[in-house]
Assembly symmetry: C2
Homo-oligomer: 356 residues x 2
């Protein structure tokens, strides 16, 4: 996406080309995928006019199906020597080179500098994150679809909930439905029942589902784009007090989504949540939300200390939670599109679901 | 593991402490987990005598269950300012600090240097990789168990193969059996049928299983440690020529495992494979194998250009493959322990399984 916009920025900043690379077969460089549509081991070179990919022989077939027309198979030279050779071949200058310093490791940087000795370096991290923050029409379409699929799977999961005995039964169900939809995962599902619900990043285990609140945090990856959604349900019979906690949080969550229509300063939105949680603001121990896109966590970053504003065509989560260590936790999370209006993309009901 | 050994090395190299950190909720710093048993957001400080963890409030409960006794909850200061404060509090010097340059990004390094201005930096990447390369008894026990579970799941998968229609049916089966075993994944399973088998890193899709070779590359993560195994089966009726290709590769794979008993130079082991593949050596387009441990790919690195030797208590994959683009591919992969003798840890039969 936005390859042309990025090339215009390179031109304006007098950056001759930008370099994105991924050397690990099971990881992804998000910018590389974002600009090219290719994920896998490889190097993406984006000049002010030209762009090309270099990939290992074994990835050549796959890379040819990406949005980048020019693809080279890597030979046995050192990686950055091969890159340098193709840069020369394509007559691209190399006075000033853009890299994303937030993903390049010190070791990779040393290797790179051996081949590109005298070049100036520009950090294009901020540029990339900001381009990615504001979604294109096509991205909005894809993420909406990702959210629809997530809705469908989670609804089906809740319908079947009575037959699950173990936390991992729920995980298995979510994962198999994801695969059957032709999607992959944006992160491993969290299913945290009973006292485990008080740990926001709990890892589900093959243990019996415990009575009490059960936090289910689930997202998929569709066409490379993430969804991310949380519902908290109740197993057994909730007490009046427990229901009060749930609806306190739910009211805060929905009021926050409404608040965004008028308030675009992220810090103020977070402050609004804290104020509305009253004495339980200290039980809200993580960020309010984050942008979603090719990466699960991207801009905007909804936290108290953030100084930026929410912008049109941002898609982000709103996920307040309250946690009582050793007792229970509740979190409710939606994906929200800030268009002309605020649109909630994840539509699974938020009324407290009680499974007896 | 090997915390004490690492501390001895720090002392010998006059490194006051080493710093490992993970700032991403869905990634892991392998050294941090290796030395502490804790995975999640946090910072691990290993001094010559003391070691402690700093984690976000919400991870405190989890971190308290790790092997590191001293755990601090992070406050709202800048991350590395908090680290500095605890370093001072624990009376640890800070003349020379060890970091793993192969995982620290340029951005992280800048942030770190703001709090640790005048300190010398030592790259402990090699030290960590080499410590991790040679497995302890406990690690061997864990990885053997991981391989046993992998065997069990794959055997069950093959028994049920007739009822799978789509590539993703196989993936779903492997993933759900993994979850039910209380394990997680070391990488997303590869199920590549028909012409797709010619792509070593193919991503399975919800498409009908195609006739011909079907490569299944599958591994799990048990107690934080990876297994990694590949079998190629045949859907339909293989031709004589296809059987010949399969048994050529299988003979090379088993001969290679035998070869290791006497030949410890990795480059020579790879050369042995190439020689034995004869005219098909050019169809072998990836590395011969890699160490497995807390990370899926670690030392030793079995490739032609590698200059090191295999050592006792290394555990690594032996995974030759031959690929004919647009036609088919075959890969056979075992996990091998180099003990007093060579022990194959993955025991699923390698006779060509034909599913009609």
């Amino acid at each position: 996406m936005k390859l042309k916009e990025f090339q215009d920025i390179l031109k304006k900043r007098k950056i001759d080309f930008a370099l994105f690379f991924n050397l690990n077969p099971i990881e992804a460089d998000h910018n590389l995928f974002y600009f090219s549509g290719y994920s896998g081991i490889g190097v993406l070179v984006i000049g002010q006019k030209k762009a090309f990919l270099l990939v290992p022989k074994m990835e050549y077939e796959k890379a040819r199906k990406s949005r980048i027309r020019k693809v080279y198979a890597l030979d046995k030279k050192k990686l950055f020597d091969s890159v340098l050779e193709k840069i020369k071949k394509n007559k691209i200058k190399r006075k000033k080179i853009g890299i994303d310093k937030s993903v390049v490791t010190l070791t990779e940087y040393s290797a790179f500098k051996k081949s590109f000795k005298k070049c100036k370096i520009a950090n294009v991290s901020r540029i990339c994150y900001e381009l990615r923050e504001t979604k294109t029409k096509e991205e909005i379409r894809i993420i909406k679809k990702a959210c629809q699929i997530t809705d469908k799977i989670l609804t089906k999961c809740f319908k079947n909930f009575r037959r699950f005995k173990y936390e991992t039964d729920v995980v298995v169900f979510l994962e198999q439905e994801t695969r059957r939809s032709g999607c992959s995962f944006s992160f491993p599902p969290i299913v945290a029942s009973g006292v485990s619900s008080s740990q926001p990043h709990y890892e589900p285990k093959p243990v019996r589902l415990k009575k009490g609140f059960c936090v289910i945090d689930f997202g998929i990856r569709y066409n490379g784009y993430c969804s991310d959604m949380t519902r908290t349900i109740y197993l057994g019979k909730p007490s009046r007090k427990e229901k009060e906690f749930y609806y306190l949080l739910l009211n805060v969550q929905t009021a926050t989504i409404k608040k965004i229509e008028e308030e675009r300063k992220t810090s103020k939105v977070v402050q609004f949540v804290k104020n509305n949680l009253g004495r339980y603001d200290k039980n809200f121990i993580h960020g309010l939300g984050h942008g979603i896109g090719v990466e699960l966590h991207e801009l905007p970053n909804l936290k108290e200390t953030d100084k930026s504003r929410l912008k049109e065509n941002n898609i982000f989560t709103i996920e307040p939670g309250i946690y009582f260590p050793g007792k229970f936790g509740i979190r409710i999370e939606d994906d929200v599109l800030l268009g002309k209006n605020v649109e909630v993309l994840t539509k699974v009901t938020k009324d407290l679901l009680v499974v007896n």
